[in-house]
Symmetry: C2
Subunit: 298 residues, 2 copies
Amino acid sequence: MQSEPTSTTRTLGDLLSPLAAQAEAALAQYLPEEASPEALTAGMQYCVEGGKRLRPALVYLAYNACGGGDDELAARCAAAIEMVHVYSLVHDDLPAMDDDALRRGRPTAHVKFGEAMAILIGDALLTRAMAAIAERGTASAALCVAELATGAGCSGMVAGQVADMELCEVADGLEGLESIHRRKTAALLVAALRMGALAAGASEAQLAALTTYGEKLGLAFQVFDDLLDVTASAAELGKTPGKDAAGGKQTMASLLGLDGAREFGERLTADAVAALAPLGGASEPLTLLAEYLTTRRN
Amino acid sequence: MQSEPTSTTRTLGDLLSPLAAQAEAALAQYLPEEASPEALTAGMQYCVEGGKRLRPALVYLAYNACGGGDDELAARCAAAIEMVHVYSLVHDDLPAMDDDALRRGRPTAHVKFGEAMAILIGDALLTRAMAAIAERGTASAALCVAELATGAGCSGMVAGQVADMELCEVADGLEGLESIHRRKTAALLVAALRMGALAAGASEAQLAALTTYGEKLGLAFQVFDDLLDVTASAAELGKTPGKDAAGGKQTMASLLGLDGAREFGERLTADAVAALAPLGGASEPLTLLAEYLTTRRN
């Protein structure tokens, strides 16, 4: 007999599926450019298929938590953050980088389309993301592009990948690993949240609360990702598990042990939730989302 | 005895060197992010060194031709367009793409820093370019990001590279080659000009004139580039010459012959100059620049 889902799980499903549907609609509207070669558009679309749409959900949830405002800008930011996330996966999977063959249960871009096309698909997704927001043509759109580019760029996500690949100096132990995760994962989650807030015309206090939430959530997300890499199967993950351990790479699990890492992740999740206090009841879905992370299996 | 430079050449030098100095200052100010890893910033800076700064010059000249306005936005756009141009060179030079070892007379990024770092340097330059403009925080800044991203993206420069590498369908002969150059080269020159115009609050008529100028100039530029690839030495070019012919690739020179290609380039240059008429005398430097292209040797 199958066990009943807990009430939290059921509520979270209710919460996330309409947001994922909104994200799909936003991607369908804002990813393609009419004059783009068919083969390039098809490659971009292949790569964005099948994600959990966590980052667009953060845009929408922050937007709603701050009372809403420019729906179209929020939708453009939701599509854009997913395109930037996917571009980073496409480039990280390249032979010169992590050399991964499997992603979301399917061949990675360079396996499917060749290495040159994979590089160009990534470039096109990153560039299209910026256009999708900027075409809104407002001062708020400019601020959203700045958030996204800062989170994704040379002091954010790209810096995190540079550090992760040991192409720059990184501190030893937990401090170094945290600084990698802060840039490689958390910076983009923070950008998602802040873009949603900016589309809603949020106050500085609201922006600050969401920034702290995103930083803690990003680290927690990565801690549980490390744990899943040790404990889950390829079928559950949709990608090759155990790669970090096989590569002799430091992870939260190798530094803190499985139990220590889980406790650390749970503390970060609690900190993330606590940071939401200034937003009041409208931020409850963000609380649910953070708590979901401690139970996810893929 | 050395011959005197012609009056056009002397005037053009007078025109371009202060603009190049402005571009260097803009890059120094807007390329680095404080929290970026030193190795990444250094890599980005290595790659932007030594260019002719043609695209920033187009931003400034269009800005001036339209009467000026937001100086800071123009400077940000000038830095950004050069970063986008350089990112495209870094990625195009990769082993999976054109596999070039020499650029601007020095080792290409992947030869100097390794392939992973070269991919990431390119990603960081593209992302930083968008941030540099967007941080201005105005509606005009959003429009400039949209111009840049459209010119650089999946229906512009990236599309041109996809077509150039035969990763999508391309028409035969001159039509196909023109469509490649329009996207691979002209689209970014058009973006440079339109950003400069937008920073000056230009009218639709001014934008349209500069768009036509940029399209013709971009094709002319590529025609003369093809000619130089046949006729110039590595020392003059600062990169490996004759690669197109050796690769059996169609060029304007192979399709039209050397004389035919030169005539075609000169006609395009004349068309570019004619398009400037609505801008009046303030666009004279853009005329000089177009005419310079027919005499350049590198």
